[in-house]
Symmetry: C2
Subunit: 258 residues, 2 copies
């Protein structure tokens, strides 16, 4: 199997432009958020106050695009297959590298991704309906407000996985072991309680496939910081393009706290 | 029993000037670090990179001395029995409030305190030698470097508790449940491996009392951020005075993640 580093270098050379799901099996993938240093304190504080949607794996120094902690000298400007560039909250570009956008006043944040706990769930025999159907996970904007920080405020975004009722306890316990990749669910059972009017119309991703006896289980989602940053009028932001993640050198199992 | 709020108000009125150990039994106590906003990003990033010594419970907004999350409208300028004021890394004052020192460019950080997991250890039948002897816990500067952030760098400080060998596994498991109050040990067994030359000469606190069959177990310590801030030449910092903690409205048990 190719190492995470080999895969990052192939991505850097432009040889992989697709979603990263299934690549470097067993290794954690990460969300990217890049903002100007003027708002970096607000974002760091927002993540501290909202650790479930914003579990920080690594914060790079101001102006530095090279990782130290989650990957050995990766370059976050080139090692992700596809990026999104936002200006004043609007998507303006979707480039395959951000070398031309990089500036010395930018700060890059890498956040944990639910791929890591999905690996643990499947390993423990918990079926994932969206994986079975080769779809994206459904995501919803909730009525749960995040804790504001500086200019940043907005609603929590959650992902939903239908879990067979007899496996809900197992799914809660397994994901609780992974706080740095969103951790335990934020809600089990009643979409309307958290402000979701129609479970079949997610705000992001694909509609869910529920089987008989499935219970909807909701986890805090890494889309939250992007949604909040956009809703808060951040003037400039770069993220990965959904599904096109940063591949780390850290095994998913290393995020287990017990 | 007096509520945490009643105790904070008594402290505010000047009716309690002693260490807070044993006050508001069952409720978490917190370390205080106050620094200028110029270095707040560095400290927040340092805490993100070093969560074991620096588990953040609440970061107040710039210039705001009133807590929102861990206590209902407490005032961190008056609700701690004794403070320490440092200038250019030197202790210059030990006042019973910091009203005269407070400025609009200061940021207050409240950090988890090992009192919370000691409660859980004692509750589970793990004896604590320093509590039995009514002493302070011994603390040591190690050869483990923290992960630097901005101007902040320095060694990890650990606390040591002698644990009966047959209870070491239990002590590890219990404290692992409390990541927001330092979590699982950083080392078990060999002081010299982490750079401690003489276990009987701690750098802070009182010498240890080891009984036959006790194993030295080391946890990351909340003195680390103070030591690092001093070693890093921060020009102005206020902390609580050791043992004189901030009493929160949060029950220790609420910090348990499983």
């Amino acid at each position: 199997m190719d190492s995470p580093r080999d895969i990052r270098l192939a991505i850097r050379r432009g040889e992989w432009r697709k979603p990263t799901s299934g690549l470097a099996w067993g290794y954690a993938q990460a969300n990217l958020v890049v903002i100007r240093k003027e708002f970096a304190y607000d974002f760091l504080l927002f993540a501290q106050r909202n650790p479930k949607p914003c579990p920080l794996l690594e914060v790079l120094d101001i102006g530095n695009p090279h990782t130290k902690i989650v990957a050995d000298d990766a370059d976050i400007r080139t090692d992700i297959p596809l990026y999104r560039v936002y200006k004043s909250g609007k998507l303006v570009d979707e480039p395959d590298n951000i070398l031309d956008y990089w500036r010395d006043d930018l700060v890059a944040f890498l956040l944990g991704c639910s791929f890591s706990f999905e690996y643990a769930l499947m390993d423990a025999g918990v079926p994932l309906r969206h994986v079975e159907a080769d779809r994206n996970v459904p995501m919803y904007i909730t009525n749960i407000e995040t804790v504001p920080a500086g200019i940043l405020r907005g609603p929590l975004v959650v992902s939903m996985r239908p879990i067979p009722h007899e496996l809900v306890v197992r799914a809660v316990n397994i994901t609780a072991r992974f706080p740095s990749v969103h951790g335990a669910p934020v809600h089990v059972g009643y979409p309307e309680v958290i402000g979701i009017k129609d479970i079949n119309s997610p705000d992001f991703g694909d509609p869910p496939l529920m089987k008989d006896g499935d219970v909807p289980v909701f986890w805090a989602c890494g889309v939250t910081p992007q949604a909040v940053a956009m809703a808060s009028g951040v003037d400039f932001m770069i993220t990965h393009s959904p599904g096109h993640m940063f591949i780390t050198d850290v095994k998913n199992t290393e995020f287990s706290v017990f």
